[in-house]
Symmetry: C2
Subunit: 207 residues, 2 copies
């Protein structure tokens, strides 16, 4: 191998540091010196690998998008006529989302960056939308469409998909107020199981 190996390592460490720091303090709240130090790299490395601070930000967004897609990747859809299989796929997908948004600490790091792009969408939003949101959205819509006998582009299907996702995502977004109400400081296995059961009950209406 050539020296690109070493280069790729620095690149990777910078992206990891960027995700953590951008996620915690935002874009302007994170300095290039913090990034370099956290990555064990030099300030100049940022310019060398990503042109500038914003380039590193975009690279982080792309990394997050790919990780999200990897975790919530749409499974191969069953035959459109097989209702039972479609429902099973939907259940699996929902369960995976619940686990990801409650138990995966990485997701919490990503949240602020993702939300910021929702509030004022920039270049990073397009990356997230294309690589993560859209595929998941489409898969869920397709499944719900089959189960309700509607068209996947039916507005009712789109809105129902949205409320389904919203319920789950809110365990990540509204995590803090919920945990305080529950008197806990984290989602333990029992709580996650309760949430899963709750969502499974929700899906019963598609059965």
């Amino acid at each position: 191998m050539n020296q690109i190996a070493n280069s790729a390592e620095t690149r990777e460490r910078l992206i990891q540091a960027a995700i953590q720091l951008f996620g915690e303090h935002g874009f302007k709240g994170t300095t290039t010196r913090q990034l370099a130090e956290a990555a064990g790299a030099n300030i100049g490395s940022i310019a060398y690998h990503f042109t500038n601070k914003h380039g590193l930000y975009l690279a982080s967004a792309a990394y997050i998008a790919d990780e999200l897609h990897r975790r919530l990747a749409p499974p191969p859809l069953p035959a459109p006529t097989d209702r039972e299989a479609s429902l099973a796929t939907l259940r699996t997908l929902v369960a995976r989302m619940v686990h990801t948004f409650t138990e995966d600490d990485d997701c919490r790091q990503w949240l602020l960056l993702v939300i910021r792009e929702q509030v004022s969408p920039g270049e990073a939003f397009d990356i997230l939308q294309a690589r993560a949101f859209q595929p998941i959205q489409m898969t869920l819509s397709a499944l719900i469409a089959r189960l309700t006998g509607r068209d996947p582009d039916d507005r009712r299907v789109i809105l129902e998909t949205h409320t389904l996702v919203g319920q789950i995502v809110f365990f990540l977004v509204g995590r803090e107020p919920l945990l305080r109400r529950l008197g806990q400081d984290g989602y333990d296995a029992a709580t996650v199981a309760e949430i899963e059961a709750l969502m499974a009950a929700q899906l019963a209406r598609y059965a």
Copy 2:
């Protein structure tokens, strides 16, 4: 009147500018000079009225909390035994939340500040929690508890309340991806009506 009138005006303009700018660019992303200019005030006014930039941030959070509470204020609860009235109150509350989160442009400005406090809760989070989240949370829980014949502190009730709120809030948080999927650039009256109908259908299970 004494000169406090003029002082209060400057204070108010600073808070309004702060909500807009902090909401759009975050705390570090907003400079004191931007704040002063947007408020038509002098940089020194920030220190005079709020000690420092962070003090202005806290004042903005308090303002947002009060506005949220004002919009979603818990109506007087009906007699605990009156199921019909409880359901009607819940419907009203949900409808009001839908309208607020879809049609109220102010809410979109507040979102980033609120989410940031969820991600890394600071002093501002406690203000939001105490003045806005908690009262709404408690009211909804109380209503759902009555309608399901459970205790308001029952974990199942708490979690169900959370999913209910999550569905609605996600029309604000996940606004951008949804609108793209719908091929619209905003929530028109017809769409809001559809959402309202969808949520009303959700509440049918409590009937």
